[in-house]
Symmetry: C2
């Protein structure tokens, strides 16, 4: 009897934002797998889960996903992780793989899930709270109301064309990984007559330098910075 | 000493998708408030919560939000709910108001939160799993990967201009309340050379007629129908 694979979104940082289903599956799984960018690193998703679930006695498996610009390196990491997970599943053990935030939002787990299902294993995805959903809650600012639209774009690769289209056409825009791009985005907003006060910055949640508040000219923000821009005002 | 107001996202239907924080607050709150569209209706959010939390002995308060096309009627409902909540908070009781899905996504709670905070009460928003996040998980289809973008639009008022812009400019498009618009959206996709197989329909989750699968020509879908369209394929 083969084991089953669970992909579990841990939420964005606060262990209490784990779902009841996520907690239950982590408690009953034989093996907990977690992604790291470097060997030996304590993964963020695993750290979150430790705040909500007693993992003692469980087999913990580190899966390496290098953040390499080379596609082939990343594919090789995925292939190795897939093989490793399948070997564990073949032994009849259930595996819960944790992933930061929501599984559907920029998560590596989905690549694995598809291949592993295609190989005939059973899998289940358990959604988690995304960083932008948490940011909206902490700032008490809705992502959208009524019949408004929402665009979620990433500024990670300075793909500003999409940010501009989003600002042109959408009532509400979430810019993820905005930390290096705050100046550029401020200019884009000015050009479109969107006041700086229509944006909320959500930065490094749960870290000592956590910041939730208005955009401040010249301020430096942390790596995990999300921007919620509301064209109709906050 | 005034009570505190909590706005709690219950998730989209499965009580196990409630967060640990949501459960804890519902267990400790003196009063549970829930929104209805008609007097005496069992609210969906309240039903979900009953599956995860023992509410016996708690004061349960129904708040009426008519889905009236007249703005003034809706505003009056909100004003009455705000006054009612403030009266309870004045008596020193904590109130947890439940709301379907995620609080930041099309929820009435956010209107109340702002006004009640402005009146000097303490509030806290607890995010929940949105319908599109759950749909992505159930279908094992990512909302976005890498540095892709996501547009979330509502077809509730047949505002198809936004759906078209989203399909033109975004890698991934979630169309909420798509049930009456499946034909129109299919045509939009065809016009843009997006194969019907690039869409997943997520309809009436948790109900007897739940459907998760490809778009089928001529099929009728339920009221709670969300579409995930992935231009680069599924």
């Amino acid at each position: 009897m083969k084991g089953k694979l669970f992909g579990i979104g841990t939420g964005p940082g606060d262990p209490k934002l784990l779902t009841l289903r996520g907690k239950e599956l982590l408690e009953t799984a034989d093996v907990i797998a977690y992604p790291v960018r470097k060997v030996g690193e304590e993964g963020t998703a695993l750290e979150i889960v430790r705040g909500a679930v007693d993992l003692s006695g469980k087999e913990i498996v580190e899966l390496l996903f290098k953040m390499d610009p080379d596609d082939e390196v990343r594919k090789k990491c995925r292939a190795e992780s897939i093989d490793r997970l399948c070997t564990i599943l073949d032994s009849g053990k259930n595996v819960a793989m944790v992933t930061l935030g929501d599984v559907g939002v920029y998560s590596t787990y989905m690549y694995l899930d598809r291949t592993i299902r295609a190989r005939g294993y059973e899998t289940e995805v358990v959604p988690g709270i995304s960083a932008f959903s948490y940011g909206s809650a902490l700032a008490s600012v809705p992502l959208m109301i009524g019949t408004e639209s929402l665009a979620v774009v990433s500024a990670a690769k300075q793909n500003y064309g999409e940010v501009e289209k989003a600002l042109d056409d959408f009532d509400n825009v979430v810019v993820m990984k905005a930390y290096q791009s705050m100046g550029v985005i401020t200019e884009m907003m000015q050009k479109r007559g969107i006041p700086a006060g229509n944006a909320v910055v959500i930065s490094n949640l749960g870290m000592p330098d956590q910041y939730i508040g208005p955009m401040e000219a010249g301020k430096e923000y942390g790596y995990f910075t999300t921007l919620i821009i509301k064209k109709k005002g906050i």
